[in-house]
Amino acid sequence: MKLLSLVLVNLGRNKRRTILTLLSVTFAIFLYCALGGVLDTLAESIKVGSETGLVTRNKISLVFPLPLSYRDRIAAVPGVKRVSVSNWFGGRDPNDPHNFFAQLGVDAATYMPLYRNAAFMSEQTACVVGEALFKRMKWKLGQTVPINGTIYPGSWEFTIRAVYRAKRKSFGEENLLFHWKYLDQHGMGGRALVGIYVLELSDPARASAITREVDAMFENSAAATRTETERAFQAGFISMYGNVPFVLRVIGLAVVFAILLVAANTMAMAIRERTSEIGVLKTLGFEHGTIFRLVLIEAAVITLGGGALGALSAKLLIEGSHFNAMGFLPPMTVRWSTVTAGVGMAVLIGAVSGLIPAWQASRLRIVQALRPAE
């Protein structure tokens, strides 16, 4: 027998209590990391946009379009290299209403100017899909994908001509891109309305000046614009979530705090039940420090074990779920920093729930501990 086997034996005294406490810590840390993961994912999605690329949208709201005629006027602003268009299609998979992914009608020649896939470029109803989506749906090249339009009603069909791989993980590989022209002809009756303009700059240093110039140009038009960096545009997207990030953080901390109290109470109870045994150990010559360590290690096994389990399963399960909020967000991410923070929370739980009983146990006077309770 070794000194540490005493810790194991003590953990095994009341197996149900030990396991329940461990699992409650697991659950709390899982939740903490899962909520952290939502924040991570939002933060990742902001990174989608570059700081130098600009997006021009309708000033009133993202849901209102802009006329195509703005395109050439924006392109004429000094410092703007290229202007592309992109419309949110918002269609549904007719076979599975819960299967969401983003579809965007884009002007391919300017949206992805380096992309030259003849099969895609030359066919009106062609589409290019992200590799992750392609694999998940078990699609094949050349296959026709049916989609029910919501913003642009009707049954639509797109033929997969190419698969793309995202350079930036945050851009996501869960998108279906098709020709804006096709959308205009079959969905807008040639009214040529643009969801957003995507501006590429030749002189990124002029970004804020360009922003002002573009918006000033359309200030008195029927549809005023709002131009911002891609990142700010994405952040604005996120701001639709309002106070959600803050609330998530508070909920995560509240759960950790609640479990901290549970764990502290359990440890205190476990040690109180052993008062006379601790008195015996001390009588035999076990020193304060040894008793202190034994109790602290016991608490650490429960809380760190539970915490590590919760944090890692959050990382594995949530990233494995491929949830991406209809393509609004890049695939769910739980950053390692969040996993570390979760384990840190478990350390905090362990410290608070272990240090107090450990200190009390080590200070316990033998004569008091050995006297039968009065």
């Binding site: 070794k2 045994e277 009588t283 010559g285 020193e287 304060h288 033998i366």
Partner: protein, 222 residues
């Protein structure tokens, strides 16, 4: 040199604002190899005296010297180490750790000594054989009779080979037959192994087995 020397010891407890004097100027000498029975009415301070001799409590005043060591001069840590080497405790209610086997209970004090796991196990087994429980090594306390539990406790007190054994009513919770076995064992430890024993008891028959009897009443010996 006396094995145990208690000189003019006072002990009082503080409860709320009240001071409760328990021992008032008590003096006791126990020679090396002696076997002393300590008797006295309940609440007379027998356990208190034993605690002072065993170094798990400090006197309010006076000197307690065991094998030449003045206990008052030892701090918490040194005192703990001193106890683990020089004193074996035997309690009325055995005080075994319920989740450890007989062998593990006896190994417990040896965890504080530098030795290999095998050596520890060997010594614990020897101690259990000495108390006649060589065939109960893997039993848990709840699987043993009261008498057997007390013998495991005695093996635990012996295993570090201390010179002094302090027993607080070791037969107080046992039937006649088990009590007899424990008393025979203590006698043997005194005679064959030369252990100095100080035993508190209420039982006059048990007290007669000792080589000497002292009475404690109202804080002083008679």
């Amino acid at each position: 040199m006396a094995a145990i020397e208690v000189r003019d010891v006072y002990k009082e407890y503080q409860r709320d604002s009240q001071r409760i004097p328990v021992l008032s100027g008590l003096t006791l000498e126990v020679a090396e190899g002696d076997y002393v029975a300590l008797m006295g009415p309940s609440g007379s301070g027998k356990t208190t005296l034993l605690n002072l001799v065993g170094g798990i409590d400090q006197p309010s005043r006076g000197r307690v010297v065991v094998h030449g060591t003045d206990i008052a001069g030892l701090g918490g840590r040194a005192l703990a180490q001193w106890r683990s080497r020089h004193i074996g405790f035997i309690f009325q209610l055995y005080n075994l750790i319920p989740v450890l086997t007989a062998l593990q209970n006896v190994e417990l004090p040896l965890l504080l000594h530098r030795m290999s796991g095998a050596e520890r196990k060997k010594r614990a087994r020897t101690a259990l054989e000495l108390v006649g429980l060589g065939d109960r090594l893997g039993h848990y306390p709840r699987q043993l009779s009261g008498g057997q539990e007390q013998r495991v406790a005695i093996a635990r007190a012996l295993v570090s080979d201390p010179a002094v054994l302090l027993a607080d009513e070791p037969t107080g919770d046992l039937d006649r037959k088990s009590a007899e076995e424990v008393l025979v064992l203590l006698e043997r430890l005194n005679r064959e192994y030369k252990k100095t024993i100080l035993m508190v008891t209420h039982d006059p028959h048990a007290a007669e087995r000792a080589s000497r009897m002292v009475h404690l009443d109202k804080g002083v010996l008679s």
